[in-house]
């Protein structure tokens, strides 16, 4: 293991040496404690979400629906123009990972939330392993792995029934294995021993691509790296890789009668909003500026003075690819690949600086030994987030000089605007509805909405699937999917409109009114609001069929 201890001749005197050693150790422990604190906050949030039986983030229930369909041996890529007007828009790997849990425990939310949460822990472990392997400094490896988990974005989405963090897990493991195998190829015993790791890395890359489409950016980064290190080998690897991906792609398309192409590719071609993209870039940099600058510094060094590593190329590609966060319906999650890459590069940058200074500049080595844990402490400060519903949470927030609550009006699309009210969660992102652990009041509100679904006397038309799962009713429609297809002129809504006009649906549940305009208009003409219920700081509107005809006659 590399020694970080300043020698006596660096610090002047034995007493000075001991003081510096103590100070350095204290700073490292402080940084580790701060980041471990975030890990505890993360685990607490995850446990609260595992117990919560409804959607916390819109769309979770549809991913549960996808897992349920796969568990029954059915494809989730379906014709949206016929009942139940449902299709998935995501590739299958994440939902297939959840299937065994659905077989064992039924269609419950904690299954996918657990898989996603574990994926973030594995990603942090892989980041730490990559840093440890090159720097041989366990404290630095631990700091970088914990920094990934402390990111506001990873915290927000990590324990949700969403597939993004599982894609990042596959991406990170693939990149580390591919980088590793290339190092072996250059310096190690040779090609035969390198091959299994490389093929495993490529298999994980394929898994990432079939978890979420955006992994195509990481595939491009990996092959750019392989091409730089060996153009012929890269082409020889790219051909079977592309062939397998295409066979899988067209196989699924064939098996689903073209619905895979329509729902997973065409329907995801959403408008790109420059304000959304630039706003998210600014926010990402503000929250992660320490690790981003360290990562960018190492990437520039490698570009001009060293050899480009797979991590530098992945980081550059991921930062550029995060522009996809500007698509309608996308968001902060698109930056998590860049965050994973920057955590690895930041750790390697710190390790390189320590190694260089240890050999060439003893005084700088002492200063860096103190500076690096301070930088990770600064990074921990930048991503401050904490639920403040408990006395302990409020005390920690006060000690950190943060507010103990944030005032946010409940979000509504279907009722009068609401007054702002205190939310017991503080986040450096600013006012946000992700991150506050759901409460028993939220669960109670969800059960009230589910009771409407259970007693509806007809199938529900709900913007979230959780109430239908809870009431053992049909999951009908995936609203954003219908909206995307309608915008592209690829949706036939006749059957859905006919069912609405005939008031076949016993109840309609709105949260954001994501349905296409003709559907919203038909609902407005044939259904009326009978209740509004708040859950997770969103207003849900419950609509029942109007008692009178739309022409006004009874």
């Amino acid at each position: 293991m590399t020694s970080d201890q300043p020698s006596t001749n660096q610090s002047g005197s034995p007493a000075g040496h001991r003081l510096l050693l103590w100070l350095r150790s204290a700073l490292i422990l402080l940084a580790l404690a701060a980041l471990a604190g975030y890990l505890l906050v993360y685990v607490n949030y995850a446990l609260a979400l595992f117990r919560f039986p409804f959607d916390y983030d819109q769309g979770e229930g549809f991913e549960l629906m996808d897992s349920l369909l796969f568990s029954r041996g059915q494809w989730p890529y379906r014709d949206n123009s016929t009942y139940p007007f449902y299709s998935s828009n995501y590739p299958p790997v994440f939902h297939l990972l959840v299937v065994p849990l659905v077989w064992l425990f039924g269609p419950v939310y904690w299954t996918g939330r657990l898989v996603s949460f574990l994926a973030t822990l594995v990603t942090a472990g892989v980041i730490a392993w990559a840093v440890q392997r090159q720097t041989r400094r366990p404290w630095l490896a631990a700091l970088t792995g914990l920094t990934y988990l402390a990111s506001n974005y990873v915290y927000h989405i990590g324990p949700l029934f969403r597939l993004h963090t599982t894609m990042v897990m596959f991406e990170t493991a693939a990149i580390v294995l591919i980088g590793n195998s290339a190092d072996q190829y250059q310096t190690g015993p040779g090609q035969s021993q390198m091959r299994p790791r490389l093929w495993l890395g490529l298999a994980l890359l394929l898994a990432a691509g079939f978890t979420k489409q955006t992994a195509v950016v990481t595939c491009a980064a990996a092959f750019a790296f392989l091409f730089i290190r060996g153009p012929k080998r890269a082409i020889l690897l790219a051909v079977p890789f592309a062939a397998i991906a295409l066979v899988l792609f067209w196989g699924i398309n064939l098996a689903t009668g073209g619905q895979w192409w329509l729902n997973a590719i065409v329907a995801n071609s959403n408008p790109w909003l420059i304000e959304q993209a630039t706003g998210l870039y600014r926010q990402w940099f503000r929250l992660h500026s320490v690790i981003t600058l360290l990562a960018a510094g190492l990437a520039v060094y490698e570009l001009y003075w060293g050899r480009l590593s797979v991590y530098a190329i992945w980081f550059a590609f991921s930062v550029a690819g995060s522009a996809m966060a500007g698509k309608w319906g996308a968001g902060e999650s698109y930056f998590t690949s860049a965050i994973a890459g920057s955590c690895i590069l930041a750790g390697l940058a710190a390790g390189k600086l320590l190694n260089w200074s240890e050999r060439h500049h003893p005084r700088a080595h002492v200063a860096l030994g103190l500076l690096i844990p301070i930088l990770f402490l600064l990074q921990a400060r930048l991503v401050f987030h904490l639920p403040t519903g408990s006395p302990l949470g409020r005390t920690v927030a006060q000690l950190a000089g943060q507010p103990t609550e944030v005032w946010i009006p409940p979000q509504t699309s279907c009722s009068a605007p609401q007054e702002a009210r205190p939310v017991a969660y503080v986040d450096a992102v600013g006012p946000t509805l992700l991150g506050r652990p759901p409460t028993s009041a939220d669960a109670q509100a969800g059960r009230r909405i589910a009771a409407y679904v259970r007693d509806a006397g007809g199938p529900p038309l709900s913007e979230e699937a959780g109430f239908s799962f809870y009431a053992d009713a049909d999951v009908v429609t995936n609203p954003t999917q219908l909206l995307n297809l309608h915008r592209g002129g690829r949706l036939d809504v006749d059957e859905l409109l006919e069912m609405i006009e005939n008031r076949v649906f016993g109840v309609v549940i709105f949260r954001a009114q994501f349905y296409p305009d003709p559907v919203l208009q038909a609902i407005g003409q044939n259904y009326e609001t009978v209740d509004t219920i708040e859950m997770n700081n969103f207003v849900y509107c419950v609509l029942k069929p109007r008692s009178e005809q739309t022409d006004g006659s009874k």
Binding site: F227, I228, R229, P231, W272, I274, T278, L303, Y304, R307, L308, A320
Partner: protein
């Protein structure tokens, strides 16, 4: 072996091609803005940055990338 010069040339060509493509799109009148819109300005800046980085790498010659 791929060298710094190769990477530089690749980035230079990519950046210039992006700039040319964006200007061509503007010339044929795609988009909602009469002139160069905010998305195009952003893309032009990115293309220019890529081209500049590429140009700065070319003098580094045959060192491995």
């Amino acid at each position: 072996m791929v060298t710094k010069r190769h990477i530089g040339l690749a980035l230079l060509v990519t950046g210039l091609a992006a700039i040319a493509g964006i200007l061509a799109v503007d010339h044929i009148g795609v988009g909602e803005f009469g002139g160069i819109g905010p998305v195009q300005r952003l893309a032009l800046a990115a293309g220019g940055l890529v081209a500049a980085v590429g140009l700065s790498l070319i003098p580094l010659g045959d060192r491995p990338a």
